[in-house]
């Protein structure tokens, strides 16, 4: 096992545990916004997509990469926007919407 890989595995395992701890604390009230937010965050695949699309090594990779950038962008724009929209709807008694 290369040191790089070992480090990556550590990062993965620790991030998973951190995820468990963070998500457990989220109130069930917010489970739908939680899912749309994590969906937007998982659009981080845009990083790999941009690289494949921008390096332009072969026609195939450019086409696949461009499609992937578009798909990720849909989730980035749509995911954050709808999460924000949903959260704006939640208000406490006696308070108006802001």
């Amino acid at each position: 096992m290369t040191p790089d890989l070992e480090l990556s595995l550590y990062v993965f395992v620790l991030a998973t545990f951190l995820g468990f701890e963070l998500i457990r604390r989220v109130s069930p009230l917010l489970h739908t916004p939680l899912m749309s937010l994590t969906n937007a965050i998982s659009a981080i695949a845009v990083v790999g997509s941009i690289l494949v699309a921008g390096e332009q090594k072969t026609d195939l990779s450019t086409v696949l990469g461009t499609l992937a950038v578009a798909c990720s962008m849909i989730n980035i724009v749509g995911g954050y926007l709808i999460t924000y929209r949903m959260l704006r709807m939640f208000r406490k008694s006696g308070k108006d919407k802001t």
């Binding site: 109130s27 069930p28 916004p33 695949a45 845009v46 690289l51 950038v69 208000r91």
Partner: protein, 460 residues
């Protein structure tokens, strides 16, 4: 120089995502969470665009524009459509990961080491199967496809053998990545498996399935991180993967079912046996006017919304009902079962959209002790989550499922279209209790009628 800065930018992006999830845990900080999440994504995108490997921005720019044009309308959909929208966005996320994995395979093969190839295989397998599975879930939620489970003989055996075959092909590719002919077949098998996986799953199990697909989409992004040796992708993917996993565990627990049962149990088929033993029992029915009279005299009313409320788009009428009753001095609470609706938290966003304060929405554990104190439990479009059989009838398919104890209220009022059984295909004994009043009709119309009566009554 720039090469030394980019890893720091990625690190900041990863930290932003962690903060975003931390702040999302409570309503008063949640919006801050979204903003820091956006900042993290902006950092990640800008950092990547600055990389010297990128020789042309033309296609990336075009894809940004196309993605934005499709993404904005997807964010403006009505709240009732949120489950299908979420399924669709899982499809896009998974497809992106699968396409990048495919491109990387053809770019790197045959000089690809085993470990990288292993991660790439996982990325492509999870990506493609989540893509078609999410599209199928979308179809079922949008009711383009039948929402009842579709089963046929040897279904589970066939599905598992196909998965085994795909996994075998993946393993062979890890050992011998130079066999490029096998790769398209591998991808195709993953795509087909995604479709077959969702066919036997019914509508009411969608909360679990959507959460699981959320998890898969995250894991395939994390696998991409291993392929590209990028820690930011690993962290964001792992956060998403664990989030989806926890949500699906919560959903399974709320139904007292296991993952295996949800995925392979084909729950909610029309059960031939259950229909046969049907006996004619009497129910008491009431008109909206009579219902209004009872509600007016109550001091505590607990409303139990379900998927039927979403289908009838009755949430705004429910809010009017809440307003009238609150004005008349009636205490109104909403009892939310974790699996009410078609995705985790579905009822909460619908009621929040209708402007009902979130501190009136109570979770099952906290509200169940209050039912004996309630004058009226008003069930709007919920069925199986209120069936007392889950507590005592060992033969019932939903035995053991945690339910809302509506039967303990002084009066139970059920707004329902007809006496048809709910999703689990079983009769609800709640409807035959002496204290239960059935108000038949469309939820929106009935609630509207009650509101009109109550508002008129106040003026008399």
């Amino acid at each position: 120089m720039i090469d030394q800065v980019i890893p720091l930018v990625y690190l900041a992006a990863a930290a932003s995502f962690v903060l975003a999830l931390k702040w999302l845990s409570a309503v008063n900080t949640a919006r801050r969470g979204v903003i820091v999440g956006v900042a993290g994504m902006a950092l990640a995108v800008c950092g990547t665009l600055l990389k010297p490997e990128i020789v042309s921005y033309r296609w990336i720019g075009a894809a940004f524009v196309v993605g934005t044009i499709i993404g904005v309308p997807m964010a403006l959909m009505p709240m009732t459509a949120v489950p299908q929208r979420t399924a669709l966005s899982h499809a896009f996320g998974a497809l992106a990961a699968a396409l990048v994995g495919t491109a990387e395979y053809y770019l790197r093969t045959p000089d690809i080491d085993r470990f990288t190839m292993g991660a790439l295989t996982l990325e492509v397998l999870l990506g493609f199967l989540t893509f078609t599975a999410s599209l199928m879930a979308f179809g079922k939620l949008q009711e383009i496809l039948p929402t009842r489970p579709i089963t046929y003989r040897n279904q589970n055996v066939m599905n598992l053998s196909l998965f085994g075959l795909a996994a075998g092909a993946g393993a062979y590719l890890v050992v011998r990545p130079e066999n490029t002919w096998l790769f398209p077949a591998f991808g195709a098998m993953a795509l087909v498996f995604g479709v077959l996986l969702i066919i036997p799953i019914g509508g009411a199990d969608m909360p679990t399935v959507i959460s699981l697909l959320n998890s898969y989409a995250g894991l395939s992004a994390a696998a991409m991180g291993f392929v590209l040796n990028n820690k930011l992708l690993i962290i964001a993917g792992a956060l998403d993967g664990s989030s989806g996993f926890i949500l699906s565990v919560i959903m399974c627990r709320a139904m007292n079912r296991s993952f295996t049962n949800v995925l392979f149990g084909a729950f909610g088929q029309v059960q031939a046996g259950a229909v046969a033993v049907e006996e004619r029992r009497t129910v008491r029915s009431a008109t909206p006017e009579e219902a209004a009279g009872i509600l007016e005299a109550a001091s505590l009313v607990i409303v139990v919304p379900g998927y039927g409320m979403a289908v009838a788009q009755a949430q705004h009428k429910v809010r009017e009902l809440y307003d009238v009753m609150a004005k008349a001095g009636v205490e109104v609470k909403f009892a939310i079962h974790p699996v009410a609706g078609r995705m985790p938290g579905h009822m909460n966003v619908l009621l929040a959209e209708a402007d009902i304060p979130y501190d009136k929405l109570a979770e099952m554990e906290e509200v169940n002790s209050e039912f004996p104190r309630a004058d009226v439990a008003l069930v709007i479009g919920a069925n199986d989550v209120t069936n007392p059989a889950a507590r005592h009838d060992r033969k019932s398919p939903i035995y053991g499922m945690p339910i809302l104890d509506v039967d303990k209220a002084r009066t139970v009022m059920v707004i329902k279209r007809s006496m048809n059984p709910g999703f689990a295909g079983i009769d609800n004994e709640l409807y035959y209790m002496d204290r239960t009043l059935m108000v038949f009709g469309d939820a929106k119309a009935v609630v509207g009628g009650i509101v009109k009566e109550l508002a008129g009554g106040a003026g008399r």
